[in-house]
């Protein structure tokens, strides 16, 4: 019940957010915010559809961007055809058509890949992803080679008479489709197929002995997830009016994985959280630092080791304790974690930034500005402080974490009773 309110608040917030930053003096929307929100919408679809594989069906795919990208390319060509009047479809259904393109390709590749399990599946999808990325660079007719293909989204065919000349209109189109896709994906988890996908994830063999062919379950799940990824790609094409091979290459597939995993694969909303967070990091931190990928990579590894359920999973784990009204007992243990974590974090950031400035930054002739001051990367002091803070924070955190773990275990045991 409560999560329904959360969703409603989220949607209202998404609708209202552009107006908070409206520039009344110039009657303009904040362009940066709009493009970031639009990007978030697409990434939410990408991450959610990826989690249909990883979280719900236990399939570790490395070619998810293939279907996103193919949706993008399809949308570009469809928009071009619609622009010349050859295609009588309004703008609003373009993402759907892009989704169908994703579906078609996912049916083709899914038939090959879902014959395999676990590791072999991951490798085949890796091969498929590389195959498509290489092909995109090679064949100019459909993919436009390195330059990609472009379009003009003002096709003057809209169900609501919109021109889509402004970023706001495009953003609302994205928001509508994101909501629709998310609702549909949630609906899928409540159908026999969705449940059997969970079942084959948990126990491939058992699923066979209750009458299901687990390969077909996985195949259908794979195909449908390709469909939703294609919708995301269609929105990408509409937003940027250009699609290059970046939209189907390996880094985007990896991004889908990072978003879904960091957000949390065990909770339906987890990937939404991950997509929003990573997009924020991407557009925020990447402006400040060259090395944002290091931070995301380390965060990812840390989650694989320490918190395999992701952020949403951590939140969910508090449910029973909150239910018993014992959240208060966790306050002090949490506070005790803050200082050592900060030490570890700041030390780590310092080391990474110093390191990367020694090589990459110096080559670009920039100056290192860290924590508000200019720093000489060749001096010993900043290195010593960073290293000290990193090591001290790490050791202290280890000690505190052990204490926290004890408190947590005791509390959980108490609540269970």
């Amino acid at each position: 019940m409560k999560s329904r309110w959360l969703i409603l608040v989220l949607i209202v917030l998404a609708i209202a957010l552009p107006w908070f930053f409206y520039d009344w003096g110039h009657h303009r929307h904040a362009g940066f915010l709009l493009s970031m929100l639009s990007q978030m919408g697409m990434m939410v679809i990408l991450a959610l559809s990826y989690n249909m594989l990883l979280g719900q069906a236990g399939l570790f795919s490395l070619c998810h961007a293939t279907f996103f990208g193919i949706g993008g390319y399809a949308a570009i060509h469809l928009l071009n055809a619609a622009g010349t009047g050859d295609l009588p479809f309004p703008m609003e259904v373009m993402p759907l058509l892009a989704g169908l393109a994703g579906l078609a390709l996912a049916i083709l590749f899914g038939a090959m890949a879902t014959k395999q399990r676990a590791t072999a599946f991951a490798m085949i999808t890796l091969g498929i992803g590389e195959l498509m990325a290489t092909a995109a660079l090679m064949f100019h007719h459909f993919f436009g080679g390195e330059g990609g293909v472009t379009t003009n989204r003002m096709i003057e065919n809209s169900l609501f008479g919109l021109t889509y000349s402004s970023g706001l209109q495009v953003y609302y189109l994205i928001l509508a489709w994101t909501t629709l896709a998310a609702v549909l994906m949630y609906y899928l988890t409540l159908t026999p197929l969705g449940r059997m996908a969970n079942a084959t994830r948990d126990n491939f063999e058992r699923a066979q002995f209750i009458g299901y062919d687990p390969r077909i379950v996985r195949f259908l799940q794979f195909a449908l997830s390709g469909f939703f990824a294609g919708i995301g790609g269609g929105l990408y094409a509409i937003t940027y009016e250009i699609v290059t091979f970046d939209a189907l290459a390996a880094p985007l597939s990896a991004n889908a994985l990072l978003m879904a995993y960091i957000g949390g694969t065990t909770v339906f909303g987890g990937p939404i959280l991950g997509a929003i967070l990573i997009t924020l990091l991407q557009s925020g931190v990447s402006l400040l630092s060259n090395s944002w990928l290091v931070y995301v990579g380390v965060m990812f590894i840390a989650m694989v080791i320490f918190a395999p359920t992701g952020l949403a999973g951590i939140v969910k784990a508090h449910g029973p304790i909150k239910h018993a009204g014992r959240m208060g007992s966790l306050l002090v243990p949490y506070l005790r974690l803050v200082i050592p974590s900060l030490g570890l974090l700041l030390g780590f950031i310092g080391l990474v930034e110093l390191m990367s400035f020694l090589t990459i930054g110096a080559a670009q002739g920039k100056k290192l500005v860290l924590f508000g001051g200019s720093i000489d990367v060749n001096a010993t002091l900043p290195w010593a402080i960073s290293l000290g803070s990193f090591l001290l924070g790490g050791l202290w955190l280890r000690f505190e974490a052990a204490g926290f773990h004890r408190v947590w275990e005791n509390l959980s045991a108490e609540v269970r009773r």
Binding site: P192, R201, R206
Partner: protein, 248 residues
């Protein structure tokens, strides 16, 4: 017509013959137990019948139809269901979901991605009834992986019979249970397999002689005796090969 027949079934793993020509006939409604020392091939037999492994030669018939070339899910759809010696359930799904999944195919939902489960009244009621039968109603929404061992075994049996299969194979359903748990499990098995053909591997002789209509003794991949409990108990070959060793 027999419910399940094996005709000279053989199985090789590499050069070793594990099942060396087993012939069995099980009548509809019969409660049939397979006993035998460790490594006799009892579980392998189950794996062959249920299609987990392909057989090397011979024939297996279910209600008169060949099933030995079919994959497990097809055999299941023909009305044969099995449980596993090592508990095999969907660990990260709730108890209720486990049972509901086990009901899906027999109620012809197939791979539907359009029918919302919460609206399927008959299905949900059937799952609730099953929960009641298994005495798991109180544990309805707990993840199956968190159940106690005996509860997991009960769930496993529930999932095995949920699809309404006419032939049920249970692989050591009481293994690792205490005496009270065993008694409870046997009562449960009697209740839920009423009117079905039951084939069971079991080590607990008390359970076997209590429940079975027919007992088959399997030693080194061969049937050395098959008959009513009284006959088997009196069989000298069995006494020498198996029971004798137990009653020493």
């Amino acid at each position: 017509m027999t419910a399940l027949s094996l005709r000279d079934v053989r199985k090789n793993f590499g050069a070793t013959e594990i099942i060396r020509g087993v012939t069995l006939d099980i009548a509809p409604g019969e409660r049939h137990c397979i006993i035998g020392p460790n490594g006799a091939g009892k579980t392998t037999c189950f794996n062959l019948i249920s299609g987990r492994f392909p057989i090397t030669s011979g024939e297996i018939l279910l209600n008169g139809e060949r099933i030995d070339t079919m994959p497990p899910h097809k055999i299941n759809r023909m009305g044969l269901s099995r449980s596993f010696q090592i508990t095999s359930i969907f660990q990260r799904m709730s108890v209720f979901e486990n049972l509901r999944c086990a009901l899906l195919w027999s109620r012809s939902y197939r791979y539907s991605f359009w029918s919302p489960l919460w609206r399927q009244k008959a299905l949900n009621e059937a799952a609730e009834v099953l929960l009641e039968d298994l005495n798991l109603t109180a544990r309805r929404d707990i993840l199956a992986g968190l159940l106690s061992y005996a509860e997991q075994r009960a769930l496993e049996i529930g999932m095995t019979i949920a699809g309404g299969a006419s032939v049920v194979l249970l692989d050591e359903p009481t293994a690792g249970m205490s005496n009270t748990e065993t008694d409870y499990a046997m009562a449960l098995i009697r209740r839920v397999t009423h009117g079905k053909t039951l084939l069971m591997v079991e080590h607990d002789m008390k359970v076997v002689f209590d429940l079975a209509d027919t007992i088959t003794v399997l030693v080194y991949g061969q049937v050395i005796a098959s008959g009513s409990p009284v006959d088997v108990r009196a069989n000298r070959a069995v006494q020498e090969a198996y029971l004798g060793a137990l009653e020493e």
